[in-house]
Amino acid sequence: MRSIISIFLLVVIAWGMITVLQEIPFGSSETRVGQRYIDQGREETGAANIVTSVVLNYRGFDTLGEITVLFVAAIGLGAVLSTNRKKKKREIESASLVLYTGCRFLFPLILLFGAYIFIHGHLTPGGGFQGGAIVASAFVLVYLGCRGRRISETGSKAVESLGGLIFIGIGLAGLAVGGRYFLSNFLPKGELNTLFSAGVIPILYIAIGFKVGSELAGVIDHLIEDSE
């Protein structure tokens, strides 16, 4: 019964969607704003990856909000799971040698890969979020492979905080010294397609990368804790 009603409702909604999608033909999008970013993004931000320039410069404020959302989730998840958390000693069966060694071996490599991704965010696809996620997955590997190993909570908290503070600090610096706008790209743009270009973008992405990495790792950490 519920399914029939649900399907009926969804059909009505689908009808509306079809009506409106007639007006948005696939493949020929209305790119007034987007086209300007493509045309002038290189000069205005100095990033080769236009998506990055949009994410961090044109719509940098969104990204600030976005890292805040992740921060909220990490903090909130901690708050939800931390209440009456029992600090019981767990019997941890140690992983097999092969697994352990493999994890130890892979861990820095994955970290490095993640770091590469977020440092080169303004040049190649990828950036702070993707890199951060990869960094976090390195930690997941450690949690799963090398049982009992934990990142230090204070350390990850400090990284989180610092990442956020750097983002805001750069934004405020833009407001105070640079172009008198919050988050304005006040550093020299450099030469296109080189590592040291695009002004504040790489710095922001590195901050985001660390922040996202530690937050996602923290999320997994909190969830895994006392689950065994």
Partner: protein, 80 residues
């Protein structure tokens, strides 16, 4: 002929989504959802959005699945 490939992917994705709907075993459902994410990330790539494809693959497919699995481990596995 790109469009045929894409259509097949879309079909596969929808099938995976329906599978996630049907499976009573939550673990299987999560894997099906993971499939959805993975195929979506391939579709993102086809849509000339490599940034998004990377994000979807690393976050949407990998991390979320991990979180789901952990959560299922801590609760119960079968939907009654």
């Amino acid at each position: 002929m790109m469009i045929i490939v894409v259509s097949l992917f879309v079909l596969l994705m929808l099938v995976a989504a329906v599978a996630a709907l049907i499976f009573k075993d939550l673990m299987s459902a999560v894997i099906a959802a993971c499939m959805v994410s993975l195929i979506a990330s391939i579709l993102f790539y086809f849509l000339q959005a490599p940034d998004v494809a990377m994000a979807e693959a690393s976050i949407g497919a990998a991390l979320i699945t991990a979180v789901f699995i952990v959560a299922i481990r801590r609760t119960e596995r079968f939907e009654e």
